[in-house]
């Protein structure tokens, strides 16, 4: 064990830190769930990509830097410390990207990844259906192979970023006689295809972060199939593993929230200390964010040495989503009567974007596989309890 960063790792940290200092927009971008904000975030992805910071873990040939997981964590730490914009293409770069590396053909990687990295093609998720949420194996949308095309019919819902995205990835039933997780195929679909209707779903904050996608005889070239026909479930499980595991929610995000929570507490100390439980909650949040960071470094070092990530991706998902909820609930307590005010309200001094964050934190235990399903996975696959 040696917890000192190497010269090379320190140099990498310096490089990204100074690049971010010079390039992060001074004024925060608008939400990427608005038309204008989406455009701004797409431009930011292009800027990042020009500096070869779009996805540092990718090979150099694909616009990355071939970084290992430790450098990835360093990148994330600096990224959140600089309060740089959220990643509008997170479905692509964090979820589909690693899946393509594992299951994609060379042609697919060369065609898809560079445009993903520079924000030219932003990706939406197409997992859930009205009757297939936690129970993803209940998917009913179909894809029928006709010549060199799949013809897709059905409906997807809760598709993150689908309102303005260019592509979506998802699973479709290619074998009409199949049941459950057999007979599903992972297909990439251009959202401008004829026969697609995208209907925005307004969230609690009023913005359309999700959409429903309707497919009416949508034709998709067979080269957009990822993995073998009928092997969609295994491909999707890899994607879900990245989602719950290291990529989607790196510790830096929560450490940054924890630092902001300490700032909020310090700025409001007199009123916050009227309830001693608030201070405890702030300390607890800070320590839990540190624990998440340490645990992630330990996992990353193990993976760098050839280890595999297993059921612990389910413990990750529960830990970060509940940590996020706790931190935002504590912020709401500190803000007291101001907590419900929108930032432009006259009495809303110092509320920051905690309300938005609090609303979003409520979705954490739902997306990326509900925490209830994760608890079943932990109990059955990690602890070996009976089904």
């Amino acid at each position: 064990m040696d917890l000192v960063f190497t010269e090379q790792q320190n140099a990498f940290r310096e490089e990204i830190r100074s690049w971010l200092a010079a390039n992060v927009p001074a004024a925060p971008l608008q939400s990427f769930d608005t038309a204008e904000g989406f455009k701004q975030h797409r431009e930011w992805e292009a800027t990042l990509n020009k500096g070869r910071w779009g996805m540092v873990t990718w090979p150099e040939a694909l616009g990355g830097r071939g970084c290992d997981l430790i450098e990835w964590l360093i990148f994330e730490e600096e990224y959140y410390r600089a309060r740089a914009p959220l990643r509008v293409n997170q479905n692509g770069i964090f979820l589909l990207g690693p899946t393509l590396m594992e299951y994609g053909t060379e042609e697919q990687k060369a065609r898809i990844l560079p445009k993903m990295a520079n924000g030219e093609e932003v990706w939406a998720q197409g997992w859930s259906e009205p009757n297939a949420g936690s129970d993803m194996a209940a998917i009913r949308s179909t894809a029928k192979l006709e010549g060199d095309k799949y013809v897709i019919n059905g409906q997807k819902t809760w598709s993150t970023r689908a309102v303005w995205a260019d592509w979506c990835f998802g699973m479709f039933r290619t074998d009409p006689a199949s049941e459950r997780h057999r007979g599903l195929t992972f297909i990439l679909v251009p959202l401008n295809s004829p026969g697609i209707t995208v209907r925005p779903i307004p969230q609690l904050d009023g913005l359309p972060g999700f959409a429903e996608i309707f497919f009416d005889n949508v034709e998709v070239a067979v080269e957009n199939r990822l993995g073998d026909e009928g092997a969609g479930w295994n491909v999707a499980m890899a994607t879900a593993g990245f989602e719950r595991g290291l990529m989607l929610r790196s510790p830096a995000r929560f450490q940054e929230t924890a630092r902001r929570l300490v700032e909020l507490y310090t700025a409001n100390r007199e009123s916050a200390d009227r309830d001693p439980a608030v201070k405890d909650a702030v300390i607890r949040a800070y320590l839990d964010a540190e624990s998440y960071c340490l645990t992630t470094y330990q996992t990353a070092c193990r993976l760098n040495k050839g280890g595999k990530i297993g059921a612990e991706s389910s413990t990750n998902k529960i830990f970060w989503s509940e940590l996020d909820q706790n931190m935002h609930a504590t912020a709401m307590s500190i803000l007291g009567a101001r907590a419900e005010l929108l930032p432009h309200a006259p009495a809303a001094q110092g509320v920051g974007n905690w309300l938005d964050g609090w609303l979003f934190s409520q979705s954490g235990p739902i997306y990326a596989g509900t925490n209830e399903v994760q608890r079943n996975i932990i109990a059955e696959r990690m602890l070996g309890m009976p089904r």
Partner: protein, 323 residues
């Protein structure tokens, strides 16, 4: 940056685990409750033969010269079997303190401790009572801002009975003949270090103990049938267990980080804790608070074990003394 244990450290953990699981059974622990001192001299000899009593004793004094980082995984295993013998106390708190005091006292006692021929315990102002004072050949005790060393014949002990029969607790009165070993700033440093070491020992044992609670409760809830099914197949039960598993998973790395920090601070070749903390950016060490550490494991273990878990013979109670 390498946050993993070495092959050697993992192999050592495995062999100590095999030994402890075979030797320190709940039956053997319960049998020791019936004896006078409540401790098992034969077990201490076995621990000495494995080198464990001298694990942190410097090589010059006949020990293995290992660090808190080498020992932390073994402390977890001591917790896993709820070892009543004061091995973690000795290896992580008393021996490092005695080594830091140095001089004649260390030269006289460390070789005996390594050989398993003598035991040393520490009692600080924080300790209402001193554990295992009755089997100690040497006691290092805080008196105000001073540390004194007293041999067994220089103290008067009064037994304090605990709910946990494995805990042997004593109020200690020191006769005036005891030797002063440190005062002022020197004593304050020794005491602060001992508290950090002790917190690490508690945390590491709690990790093992929590794992044991999980293992026992998984076994019980997989066997116990109600409504025609194992109760462990019900989500209400599974989710309790998953919650404990999640908290336990995230308590490990901070404990290992704390062991690294303590090892780095006490070894010249690694003694750059401040620099490490600065360079590590977000990766700072902390001493896990003891009360957070088998996080809910004992409560849920007791609850899901049902009525039988409240009985001594079921095993969960055997870990009570660490909680």
């Amino acid at each position: 940056m390498d946050f993993t244990f070495t092959e050697d450290q993992l192999l050592f953990q495995e062999s100590v685990r095999d030994f402890l699981v075979n030797e320190v059974t709940p039956e053997r622990i319960r049998a020791s409750w019936e004896t006078d001192g409540g401790r098992d001299p034969a077990l201490w000899r076995q621990l000495a033969e494995l080198g464990l009593t001298g694990i942190t004793v410097p090589e010059a004094h006949g020990g293995l010269g290992m660090s808190a980082l080498d020992f932390v995984l073994l402390a977890q295993e001591c917790g896993y079997v709820a070892l009543p013998e004061p091995l973690v106390h000795s290896a992580l708190v008393a021996v490092p303190m005695l080594s830091a005091i140095g001089g004649e006292l260390a030269a006289q006692w460390l070789p005996k401790i390594a050989a398993g021929e003598a035991k040393v315990v520490v009692g600080l102002a924080q300790n209402l009572v001193v554990e295992d004072a009755h089997i100690a050949d040497l006691l290092i005790l805080q008196q105000g801002e001073t540390l004194v060393a007293a041999t067994a014949d220089q103290v008067v002990l009064e037994h304090n009975e605990s709910i946990d029969p494995s805990r042997k607790l004593f109020t200690v009165a020191v006769r005036p003949v005891a030797t002063t070993v440190a005062t002022g700033a020197e004593a304050a440093t020794l005491i602060a270090d001992a508290l950090n070491h002790g917190a690490l020992g508690c945390a590491a044992q709690a990790l093992g103990l929590a794992q044991r609670m999980i293992d026992l409760t998984v076994k019980y809830t997989s066997e116990r049938q109600q409504f025609g099914k194992p109760i462990g197949s019900f989500q209400a039960v599974k989710h309790h267990m998953a919650n404990v598993a999640v908290r336990l998973e995230y308590a490990k790395a901070p404990t290992h980080r704390a062991a690294y920090a303590i090892a780095a601070a006490s070894q010249p070749r690694l003694s750059r804790p401040r620099r490490i903390a600065r360079q590590a950016g977000g990766v700072r060490g902390r001493e896990p608070r003891r009360e957070e550490l088998p996080p809910g494991a004992r409560r849920d273990g007791l609850h899901l074990g049902g009525g039988p878990a409240y009985l001594h013979e079921k095993g969960l109670g055997a870990g009570e003394h660490l909680g």
